[in-house]
Symmetry: C2
Subunit: 360 residues, 2 copies
């Protein structure tokens, strides 16, 4: 065999076999500029030589010459997170479809790795010359997104980063609430309640807007007593107890919600804050002998894995991560190839989708 002493085939090896210059071979095989006119015959000869020698272009050399890396950096606080994990999966899948690859950066906020991981990735991604960055770090991690954006102008966020002019996609929570209310109204529910966790964040306000708008559209009265704000009861998020490895959820706020909305408010349906909320509602309602969906219908938000395994399975709103990922890759590629997008095209709304199971 030719070149058996080398472990890897270079462009020049192919060029020699095909009896052309590197210039021509590079143009045919790697699409580099240089010679634009090459006869079909020559091109074919070059390709055959490349195949015969199993030529693989050296990525580092192309990078060093200033070509793009065809690599994205992906920032996420925890790739194991049941929702973010799908974003990881779909983002990479969309990237691969157009020949790109993904560096994962998921140790943000992980105490076993150390502090400042966010900033470390920002630098590391720069060093490795990623073409752009996806940032899907939850808003409660107060990282320096502005520094990220300065170092990597080609960044697309999942959900608003709170930086004017940033490019991001966002799930339409107003529509999510409307979908839930619409479904419940169509199934004959008349006293539909809404649970939010605060009215100080725009995402929660959007839900309330959607809830109210759909009630109006259905000509159902808006009853203040059917809106529950969990804020006074502290943060109600599922969190993993490191010692027991179990996810825990503060039940008190759920009990207060049941009392306010169902016992006092006589709600026949609840649009829950999210699937954790909804799942806890299911359990607590059973303890009180309240049947779901017979007495009260429950709709969640997330379409988390658990939705299929609650009893009854949870009707919930899916966040359409695949569509979100597609949009994010599309936005980022445009930024890479066209440069900064016009203001009006920097925010893309994702329309969520109701998944009907048994709880409503």
């Amino acid at each position: 065999m030719v070149q058996s002493k080398r472990k890897t085939t270079r462009l020049i090896d192919v060029a020699r076999v095909a009896k052309v210059s590197c210039c021509v071979a590079g143009h045919v095989l790697n699409g580099s500029r240089g010679n634009s006119r090459v006869s079909l015959q020559t091109a074919q000869r070059i390709r055959e030589a490349a195949q015969q020698l199993n030529y693989q272009p050296n990525h580092a050399a192309r990078l060093l010459r200033g070509k793009r890396s065809y690599t994205y950096g992906l920032l996420v606080a925890s790739a194991g997170d049941p929702l973010r994990s799908f974003l990881v999966q779909y983002l990479d899948a969309e990237a691969v479809k157009i020949g790109n690859h993904t560096y994962i950066g998921n140790t943000i906020g992980n105490p076993s790795v150390g502090p400042d991981q966010f900033d470390a990735y920002v630098e590391e991604f720069a060093r490795r010359q990623v073409d752009g960055v996806f940032c899907a770090v939850h808003h409660w991690f107060e990282e320096d997104r502005q520094a990220l954006l300065t170092r990597h102008p080609n960044t697309v966020f999942y959900e608003a980063p709170g930086i004017p002019g940033a490019t991001y996609i966002t799930v339409d929570r107003e529509e999510a609430a409307r979908l839930a209310v619409r479904h419940l109204a169509e199934r004959g529910r008349r006293r539909i309640a809404l649970a939010v966790m605060t009215l100080s964040r725009p995402t929660h306000l959007a839900r309330r807007r959607g809830y109210e708008a759909e009630l109006r559209a259905r000509e159902l009265p808006l009853r203040e007593e059917l809106i529950f704000n969990g804020e006074p009861y502290g943060p109600a998020f599922a969190r993993c107890n490191v010692a027991t490895q179990a996810w825990e959820f503060p039940h008190e706020v759920i009990d207060r919600a049941i009392e306010a909305l169902i016992l006092r408010g006589k709600a026949d349906a609840v649009v829950a804050y999210d699937d954790f909320w909804a799942a806890s509602l299911l359990t607590q309602l059973r303890l009180r002998g309240i049947r779901v969906p017979d007495d009260v219908a429950i709709v969640g938000y997330l379409n988390h894995y658990l939705a299929d395994w609650t009893d009854p399975p949870l009707t919930t709103v899916d966040l359409q991560h695949e569509a979100a990922a597609r949009q994010m890759v599309h936005l980022l590629e445009r930024m890479i190839t066209e440069g900064s997008l016009p203001e009006s095209e920097r925010v893309v709304k994702i329309t969520p989708k109701l998944i009907v199971r048994k709880s409503a």
Copy 2:
């Protein structure tokens, strides 16, 4: 500022400011060989210059010169998978701890991306010169793991790849079954049943071995009627219905198991095949008015997200992905730095851990 016309600082820029050669600067900043003796003072001056100019070594240039990439390739069939996603997370976290990064390759078996993804990643990882590969692709994907191993001798598998001499970690399923039986026996259960899906795969046989060994250790009789083999009822795996986005599970096999083990066998506990099995058992038992854990205790296997959200929450065996990831990174780093491991050190068993919730 110095060098304001260039967008990026090179080693030579730092060297000039520090009034040394690239050689010395490279040695101090990037640990490259060359000058071994450099005065502390000079080193300090170089470091200051680097900091002042915000020098970041160019990754591509180092790679091109033959240094390692400090990058792992990670093959997984679906990064969104609730269990594999943790492996993705922990593997990257362990990698980052020692300064390495991870390319994700998760589109294997994804029809929307196209066929032959496994082979494509094998080539792409080679092109990008990863130092080693983690392969956590489920055994039912019949990919060419031998080709992977040929191209990337530094590969560590999650679970046995079926290739003699391969390096892998494996969860000790015998121990998993023993943990479950031990816990149940200690809680006073006397008629403990085991459900497997086949007796033709070694992992299922290992469970049976562990089950029998622990019964013996507890001086409980082994009753053949308390071992259920689901094989005749077809594959019982949870699978996602693409149209409805819901996870579906074949209930027939569960009904047969209830009839065989609980109704006829009078089992007071079931060691289920996995958490999906166990969750379905919980639902079907409730329908039949059989209480868990009062009448029958249930133990799962996986510690899947759903375990906290079944009703009652599921007592199950955790696969210890974090420990597995740590071992995988450790094995791979040894292979990279020391070369192929001695036969006796190529297989590492992970000891799983029982997580007690409410179902047992």
